[in-house]
C-alpha cells in the first residue's frame, strides 16, 4: 500500500526513523535481580525489596539508535524452578533474551548457563542473548569472576556485561547493546513478529514513542 514508506514523514517534514518492536525475555534464578533490572531500565527506579514476580510481568521501553527507534516488549519471568514450565511461553518468539545471574552467587551463574543452553536449543535460532552479571554493587562479595563469565559468553556468542540495578551501572547499556545487535532491515519486518522484529505501523504509537525517547 502506498502509505508504507520506510521512513514516515512527520508533520513538520523531518524524517522520523523507522520503528522496530522486539520481544525480549528475562530469565535467571530467583532473586538475581531480573525485575530490578527491568524497573531500572523502564522507570529508572530501584526498590530495595522488589516484590517477587509471581508468574510474569510485562513492560515496554523504547531506545533510540541513530535513525531507528527500538521498542522493547519486555517479559520479566518468575525465577523459581516451579515456574520453569511457563517460561517457553515467554521466550517463544522472543528476538532477545537477557539471562541474569548474581555475581555474589556461583549457583546462579550455573543456572544462567542452563538457561542459555535451553534458549539455544528451544528458542528462535536467531535470538540475541545477553548475559548480565547483576549486583555489581556487591563487588566485595563477588563469587563469580568477571573473566570466567566473559570467557563463557565469548564461547557462546553472548553479549556480556556486569550490571547493577541498584546503581544503574550498565543497565541502559546492556539493552542498548542488544538493540544494536538486533536485525532491523526491512526484510525481517515480517508480519506477526514470528522470530523477527515487527515494524510498527500505528502512527500514533510511533509518534508517541519517538517523542519519549532520544532525550
Amino acid at each position: 500500500m502506498a502509505n508504507r514508506t520506510p521512513a514516515a514523514q512527520r508533520p513538520n517534514g523531518s524524517t522520523q526513523g523507522k520503528i522496530c518492536q522486539f520481544k525480549l525475555v528475562l530469565l535467571g534464578e530467583s532473586a538475581v535481580g531480573k525485575s530490578s533490572l527491568v524497573l531500572r531500565f523502564v522507570k529508572g527506579q530501584f526498590h530495595e525489596y522488589q516484590e517477587s514476580t509471581i508468574g510474569a510481568a510485562f513492560l515496554t521501553q523504547t531506545v533510540c539508535l541513530d535513525d531507528t527507534t527500538v521498542k522493547f516488549e519486555i517479559w520479566d519471568t518468575a525465577g523459581q524452578e516451579r515456574y520453569h514450565s511457563l517460561a517457553p511461553m515467554y521466550y517463544r518468539g522472543a528476538q532477545a533474551a537477557i539471562v541474569v545471574y548474581d555475581i555474589t552467587n556461583q549457583d546462579t551463574f550455573g543456572r544462567a548457563k542452563t538457561w542459555v543452553k535451553e534458549l539455544q536449543r528451544q528458542a528462535n535460532p536467531n535470538i540475541v542473548i545477553a548475559l548480565a552479571g547483576n549486583k555489581h554493587d556487591l563487588m566485595n562479595k563477588r563469587m563469580v569472576e568477571y573473566e570466567e563469565a566473559q570467557a563463557y559468553a565469548e564461547e557462546n556468542g553472548l553479549l556480556f556485561m556486569e550490571t547493577s540495578a541498584k546503581t544503574a551501572m550498565n543497565v541502559n547499556d546492556i539493552f542498548l547493546a542488544i538493540a544494536k545487535k538486533l536485525p532491523k532491515n526491512e526484510q525481517t519486518a515480517g508480519p506477526g513478529g514470528s522470530g523477527q522484529g515487527r515494524r510498527l505501523v500505528e502512527g500514533d504509537t510511533g509518534a508517541k514513542t519517538a517523542g519519549n525517547c532520544c532525550k
Partner: protein, 603 residues
C-alpha cells in the same frame, strides 16, 4: 531488695529524670526514635499496618469516620455471634455479615473459626513443632523461602525489620509447611498467602490455615502450587470461557493485543488478589473466600474486569492494559469496597444461575496424593539445589496447554482479521451485564441472556432501542460509503445521521436507530434478544433479483443481489470501537489499513 535500697533506687531514678529535663536536647541526650515526632512511621502507617511513603492525613474523612463507626457497631454483634458460633442463628446471619465485612479487630478469631483451625490443631498436636525440626534438618526450600521472606510485605510494620519476629514466623511456617506437604513444598506465592495469615494469626494457626487453604476441598490451592500448576490451567480455561461468553468484546480486545489471561490473572488465583487490589478490599475478598471458597476467586476475577471494562477497552496496547490491571488497580481501585463486594455478590449469583460459577470437580492430579508430614528423603539434586535441565511430563503437559491457549487466541485474532468487517449475524459486541452503575458501556443483558450470543437476531430487534452511540455514526458512514462505492477516495461526510440516510437513501426503507438515553437503570427489553451497543441494524426490504445497491456518493449504481447476506433483508454493521480502522475494499474483500504516515490524506 530492702527498703533502704528501694528508696535509694527511687531517688536515683528521680534524679536521672530531672537531669534529663534540665539538660534538654543537647548533644548526648538519649532519645529513642519512637519518642520523637520525627518517627514518621507512626504517621505513615495505615490501620492495617502498611507504612506509606507519605504521612497520612491526621484528619479522618467523614466517610471513613462513618465506616469506622459502623464497624464498631458491628463488633458488638460479632462478639455475640462468636459466642454461639455453631448455633442456627449464626449460620443464618453469617453469610450476610461476612459479605458486609468482618470487623478488622475480629478477623483473627473469625478467620480461625471459618478455617476450623481449633479442631485441626487439636487433632495434630505437636505436628507443627515436629515439622519445624524436620525443616531445620532437611529443608531444601530454605534458600528460596529466605529470599522471598526478605521481600514479602516489607512495607508492613510487622515485616519491616530483617529477621524480626514476624519474619521469623513467616520463615518457620513456610519451611515447616514445605516439609509437611512435600508434594507442593514451597512455591512462590505461598509467602504472600502465609504473610497475610500471619498478620492475623500466630505461627501455628497460620501453619494450619495454610494447610486448610491448600487441601480443604473448598479451596484446594494444592493444585495451583504443585508442579505443572494443573489447577491453574483449568481455572484459566474457565475464566476465558466466562469472558468469552459475557464480555466477548473485552476478550477480543485482549486477544487483539496478545494479552493472555494468564498474565494478569495468575496472581489473582495464586494469592487471592494480594497486591493486586488495595489491601482493605483484599481483606474483604479474603473474608468471603474463607466462607465460600474457590468460586469467589472466579467471580472476583470477572468482577474486576466488569467494573473496569470501559477503562480497559480504551487502552490500546498490552503494556497499558497490564499496568492498569496490575498496578493502577492496586493503588486505587476507583470503587469503594462495599460497591465492589456488592458487585461480586451479584456476579456470583449470575454465574451460578448460568452454571458458570464453577469449573467442576478437581482433576485427579490436583488433589494431594502423598500422606502429609512424612519425610521424603530429598534427592541429591534437591539437596544441592541443582536445577533440572529437562521438563518433567507434567511440566511438558502444562507447557503444551499454555502454548495451545495462546495460539488459539492468536488464531482467533487472525481469523477475525480475515473476516469481513461487515459481518452478518455476528453479535461479538454483545456484552452482558446488568450492573446499574455503569449503563453506558453495557446493555441490559444478564449473564443468562448472554446465552443468546451468536444467535441471529430477528427483525423484531430493529424495533427495540439500541444503545448505539451517535458518535460512531461518522465511522459507520465511512465504512458504509466504502462498501457501497468500492471507492476509497470518495468524499466522506463527517455528518452523522444525515449522512447515513443519504448513503442509505433508496435502500433503507425503514431503519430504526434510536439512541438510548443514559440512565441509571437498565431498560426493559421487548424481546429476550439483546442488541449490543455497537451493532446497528438496518431493515432493508428488497426484491431479490432487481434491487439496485446504490452508492449515492458517486452516483454509481451497481446491480448485485445481496447474496452474501443470508438473512436477505438485514444488514448488520458492526463498528469496532477499538481503533476505528477504515475498511478498504479490494477485489471484493474488505481489508484494513492503518495510517502509518500522519500526513497521508484520506481525501
Amino acid at each position: 531488695m530492702n527498703e533502704e535500697d528501694l528508696i535509694k533506687r527511687s531517688a536515683e531514678e528521680r534524679d536521672k529524670i530531672f537531669r534529663r529535663y534540665e539538660r534538654g536536647r543537647e548533644e548526648g541526650a538519649e532519645i529513642d526514635p519512637w519518642e520523637d515526632p520525627s518517627f514518621e512511621v507512626y504517621h505513615a502507617t495505615d490501620r492495617y499496618g502498611f507504612i506509606h511513603d507519605k504521612r497520612l492525613s491526621s484528619k479522618m474523612d467523614p466517610q471513613e469516620a462513618k465506616r469506622n463507626q459502623i464497624e464498631l457497631e458491628r463488633v458488638k454483634k460479632w462478639l455475640k455471634m462468636l459466642k454461639s458460633w455453631s448455633s442456627s442463628v449464626t449460620k443464618e446471619k453469617l453469610h450476610k455479615r461476612i459479605y458486609k465485612g468482618i470487623p478488622n479487630s475480629l478477623r483473627p478469631q473469625v478467620w480461625c473459626k471459618l478455617l476450623n483451625l481449633e479442631k485441626v490443631k487439636n487433632e495434630n498436636r505437636g505436628v507443627y513443632a515436629e515439622m519445624n525440626k524436620l525443616a531445620r534438618l532437611y529443608s531444601t526450600d530454605a534458600r528460596q523461602i529466605d529470599s522471598d521472606v526478605n521481600r514479602q510485605f516489607r512495607e508492613h510494620i510487622i515485616y519491616r525489620e530483617r529477621y524480626g519476629i514476624k519474619q521469623q514466623s513467616l520463615y518457620n511456617v513456610l519451611t515447616a509447611y514445605a516439609m509437611y506437604n512435600s508434594e507442593v513444598g514451597y512455591c512462590q506465592g505461598m509467602s504472600g498467602l502465609a504473610g497475610v495469615l500471619l498478620m492475623y494469626m500466630d505461627e501455628e494457626d497460620a501453619f494450619w490455615a495454610t494447610h486448610a487453604l491448600l487441601t480443604d476441598p473448598k479451596y484446594m490451592m494444592h493444585g495451583l502450587y504443585k508442579e505443572g500448576f494443573p489447577k491453574l490451567t483449568r481455572f484459566l480455561a474457565h475464566h476465558d470461557r466466562i469472558l468469552q461468553k459475557i464480555m466477548p468484546k473485552l476478550k477480543k480486545h485482549f486477544d487483539k493485543h496478545g494479552l493472555d489471561s494468564i498474565l494478569y490473572s495468575l496472581k489473582w488465583f495464586f494469592v487471592c488478589f494480594v497486591e493486586r487490589v488495595p489491601f482493605s478490599l483484599c481483606l474483604r475478598i479474603w473474608d468471603i473466600y474463607l466462607l465460600d471458597g474457590e468460586r469467589v476467586i472466579t467471580a472476583m476475577a470477572i468482577t474486576i474486569l466488569k467494573l473496569h471494562k470501559r477503562n480497559i477497552i480504551k487502552l490500546r496496547d498490552m503494556d497499558s492494559i497490564v499496568h492498569f490491571i496490575q498496578v493502577k488497580l492496586y493503588k486505587d481501585f476507583m470503587y469503594d469496597d462495599d460497591t465492589v463486594i456488592q458487585t461480586l455478590e451479584k456476579t456470583m449469583d449470575e454465574l451460578k444461575r448460568s452454571k458458570l460459577d464453577h469449573p467442576g470437580p478437581p482433576q485427579k492430579d490436583e488433589i494431594p496424593s502423598r500422606p502429609f508430614g512424612i519425610l521424603i528423603q530429598p534427592s541429591f539434586e534437591q539437596i544441592v539445589g541443582r536445577r533440572a535441565e529437562k521438563f518433567t511430563d507434567k511440566e511438558k503437559n502444562t507447557n503444551e496447554i499454555i502454548t495451545l491457549r495462546s495460539e488459539e487466541a492468536k488464531d482467533a485474532v487472525e481469523k477475525e482479521n480475515r473476516e469481513s468487517q461487515l459481518s452478518v449475524g455476528d453479535s461479538g459486541g454483545l456484552a452482558g451485564s446488568k450492573f446499574s452503575f455503569d449503563p453506558s458501556i453495557d446493555d441490559a443483558s444478564s449473564l443468562l441472556d448472554c446465552q443468546h450470543t451468536g444467535s441471529r437476531r430477528s427483525l423484531a430487534d430493529t424495533s427495540v432501542t439500541s444503545t448505539a452511540d451517535l458518535s460512531v455514526f461518522s465511522t459507520i458512514t465511512r465504512s458504509q460509503a466504502h462498501e457501497n462505492s468500492l471507492d476509497t477516495h470518495s468524499n466522506i461526510s463527517e455528518n452523522s445521521v444525515g449522512a447515513i440516510s443519504s448513503v442509505g437513501s433508496g435502500i433503507v426503507q425503514s431503519s430504526s436507530i434510536q439512541k438510548q438515553p443514559l440512565s441509571a437503570h437498565s431498560t426493559p427489553r421487548a424481546t429476550p434478544h439483546n442488541p449490543s451497543p455497537d451493532v446497528l441494524r438496518i431493515y432493508v426490504p428488497y426484491s431479490p433479483l432487481d434491487t439496485p445497491i446504490a452508492s449515492p456518493q458517486n452516483g454509481d449504481v451497481r446491480k448485485s443481489p445481496p447474496t452474501s447476506f443470508p438473512d436477505g433483508n438485514k444488514i448488520r454493521i458492526r463498528i469496532d470501537n477499538d481503533d476505528f480502522p477504515t475498511p478498504l475494499v479490494e477485489h471484493g474483500q474488505i481489508k484494513h489499513f492503518r495510517i502509518e504516515n500522519p500526513d497521508f490524506d484520506l481525501k
